[in-house]
């Protein structure tokens, strides 16, 4: 299952790092961050709890960019 979220991030490099961090989160099959459109597309592993996974993704992203936001 794929879902797209609005995000807020200031620098392009952080966006790339966030993409990597999200992809490495458990329950995420693949992640794609579009810096220009401020969108994050997450493909969840089957059976993953969306809310829980997104919480983990958000936490991982916050470690990279302390003032980033993800709408979920």
């Amino acid at each position: 299952m794929k879902k797209t979220y609005n995000i807020e991030v200031d620098c392009a490099n952080c966006a790339n790092l966030m993409e990597k961090a999200a992809a490495n989160t458990e329950g995420v099959l693949s992640a794609n961050v579009n810096f220009m459109l401020l969108k994050m597309e997450i493909e969840f592993a089957s059976g993953a709890d969306e809310k829980k996974v997104m919480k983990a993704v958000f936490k991982a992203c916050r470690r990279i960019e302390p003032d980033c936001e993800i709408d979920f």
């Binding site: 620098c11 490099n13 810096f35 220009m36 401020l38 916050r62």
Partner: protein, 626 residues
């Protein structure tokens, strides 16, 4: 400007004013330090805070952290050497933040211009109901409902005109400025602007499947499909910072230790300063920002011109196209037949056309349509009787009491009529009157006006070889190929043979170049997906084309192809330029610093300057010369 940017701008201005003030104030000693450090905190507080959080999160190579180390280090050195030169640290922070602000403004501006460009989303629909007229959102309208569109309004949903005549402005979708005339029974697509007359439209598709929705979805997902450049730059960024930091550490420790071993003065302060300068240029952001920005601008420019490209990767591929393979019908030609010449035998040309057109009067076959069009006069149906359509052969009928047979050579053979003439090239329609041969009409597919021009311009734009594939016979293919000016053609191909032909060319071309196939998207989906880049022409309203192709030209003008290639070449050129330029400046800066030929001032100027230039350069991809 948003709140964050305004705040940053305020802080930059305050810092600048305070710094200038401090330059003229004769303070010294500890007060001097306190003053400068206060100003430094105004601008750098945010960065220091982020750096602190970065450390807590175990991120050593965070750019805020590196900037903080560099500037705090500069302060420490100024105290250690008693030089009192605190200005440098403040200035570095100031320029760094100015760069950040500029970057965020530039990115915001391009986001906005794309949003404006994509302002084709209709916000309301005027629904005609039993109880009068109501205004609703387009999502609420169902298939079969009747909507009213006044002049000046956007057509909110795809449909068919029930009542009214008008011209539509399709420029937001196709980039084509000529209005399109519509009347009763014509299909209209959402996103066009109704210009002259009120229309009553029966909706044929729900909002989610409407043209506007499809286009918006396609455009917004396009920049998520990343090009090789983006992948390269993000991989590079990941190793660049650690490597530069490693070099800085080596620079701070090794030369002084070597000096000590050689019992020379160690010069710790000199080498530490150089190491700190390294950190100033260790941030890869400038490099990282310009690549997606250029592609974003390129994709935006393309969609503004009615060219939908499904991803940055296809934009990149398009720029490397060397072989362009075309389908004939509907792509290079209009897909409409017309009479190109008449060769009568024993009758006049007018008579020949008259009999042929009258016999075909009831038929809607494209060839029949072309005959009627060439005849041009009204046909009195009362004079025609006994019409018989013979599938795959032609028509027989009685016109003005004469038995007329109109059709191909098979029909002539069946009716026992000999063809005494040598037919040249093309599709001939033979006419026999009362069983004797009366001549033939040559019909052929009309070449689009701009096809020859487009071929010439494509060659100029760097396409090495153009090929035309068609299912038609050799004569017809040769005629069209010559008229259009393609380098090669293959005729008599069945759909699967077109795939094979494309595969052959894929082997022929050089490995790094790209083969693009251009079709109308209706029955060439397999070929479109087999080619490196599949381009569907005149995709407007055709779902199949939008699905199958990588690039969709909304208009069916072949000149659009030239624009597509030009936009892609320009965009990729800019990306190349930016990468090479930014890297060159960064490495030059590092080299100069290592040998002590530059200082922190120079480093921050180079870093911010190169970023600003790269961003400005990237924004150029928004525009092309037509």
């Amino acid at each position: 400007m948003n709140k964050k940017q305004k705040k940053l701008l305020c802080r930059i201005l305050i810092t600048f004013a305070l710094t200038v003030l401090l330059l003229f104030l004769p303070i010294s000693g500890i007060y001097r330090f306190v003053c400068y450090f206060g100003v430094y905190l105004v601008i750098g507080f945010d960065i220091l805070r982020k750096a602190g959080m970065g450390i807590l999160n175990g991120r050593v190579f965070d750019e805020s952290f590196l900037m903080s180390i560099a500037t705090l280090g500069a302060f420490a050195l100024a105290i250690y050497t008693k030089s009192g030169d605190y200005l440098e640290a403040v200035a570095v922070m100031l320029f760094y933040c100015t760069g950040e602000l500029f970057q965020s403004l530039a990115v915001g501006k391009s986001r906005k211009s794309i949003a404006a460009l994509m302002d084709i989303r209709p916000d309301r629909a005027t629904l005609k109901t039993e109880n009068g007229v109501v205004t609703v959102s387009p999502q609420e309208v169902r298939v079969g409902d009747i909507i009213l569109v006044d002049p000046g309004e956007k057509i909110p949903l795809d449909g068919v005109v029930l009542k009214g005549v008008s011209s539509l402005n399709t420029s937001a979708l196709t980039g084509e400025s000529l209005p399109r005339d519509v009347g009763e029974g014509d299909e209209v697509i959402s996103g066009c602007v109704n210009m002259t007359g009120a229309l009553e439209v029966r909706v044929t598709k729900p909002y989610e499947e409407s043209t506007v929705c499809k286009i918006l979805e396609l455009v917004s997902s396009a920049s998520s499909k990343k090009s090789r450049f983006e992948a390269f730059i993000s991989r590079f960024a990941r190793i660049y910072t650690p490597i530069v930091c490693g070099c800085a550490a080596v620079l701070a420790l090794v030369p002084p230790l070597v000096n000590m071993l050689l019992s020379l003065p160690a010069g710790f302060d000199i080498w530490l300063y150089r190491a700190l300068t390294f950190l100033v240029v260790s941030c890869p952001c400038a490099l990282v920002i310009s690549v997606p920005l250029s592609f974003f601008a390129g994709l935006g420019c393309a969609s503004k011109n009615g060219i939908l490209i499904k991803g940055s990767n296809y934009l990149e591929a398009l720029s490397k196209t060397e072989y362009m393979v075309f389908d004939k019908t509907g792509t290079l030609t209009k897909g409409e037949f017309s009479v190109v010449s008449a060769v009568p035998l024993g009758v006049s040309e007018d008579e020949l056309l008259h009999f042929a057109a009258c016999a075909e009067c009831a038929s809607s076959h494209p060839i029949a349509v072309s005959l009627k069009k060439a005849y041009g006069k009204n046909i009195n149906r009362d004079t025609v009787c006994n019409i018989q359509e013979l599938a795959g052969r032609g028509v027989t009928a009685e016109v003005d009491g004469v038995n007329v047979s109109v059709g191909n050579s098979k029909l002539m053979a069946e009716s026992g009529v000999e063809i005494p003439l040598d037919i040249g090239e093309g599709n001939a329609v033979h006419v026999a009157l009362d069983g004797s041969y009366a001549g033939y009409l040559l019909v052929s597919d009309t070449v689009k006006e701009n096809s020859p021009k487009a071929m010439g311009l494509l060659k100029k734009a760097g396409i090495k070889k153009t090929v035309m594939l068609t299912g038609d016979n050799y004569n017809e293919a040769q005629r069209v190929s010559q008229a259009v000016g393609t380098d090669e053609f293959q005729s008599g191909l069945l759909p699967h043979q077109k795939v094979e032909a494309v595969e052959e060319y894929l082997l022929q071309k050089s490995k790094r170049s790209v083969l693009a196939f251009v079709g109308d998207g209706i029955n060439d989906a397999p070929v479109l997906s087999r080619a490196d880049v599949g381009v569907a022409m005149g995709g407007i309203g055709s779902d199949a084309a939008i699905e199958a192709a990588d690039v969709v030209l909304m208009d069916d003008d072949p000149l659009q192809l030239v624009n597509a290639v030009k936009i892609s070449r320009k965009c990729v050129g800019i990306v190349h330029g930016n990468i090479v330029f930014s890297l060159a400046v960064k490495f030059a800066c590092l080299a100069l610093t290592a040998f002590g030929l530059s200082n922190m001032w120079f480093a921050i100027f180079a870093d911010v300057g190169v970023m600003i230039l790269a961003v400005l350069n990237a924004m150029r991809a928004f525009k092309i010369k037509k």
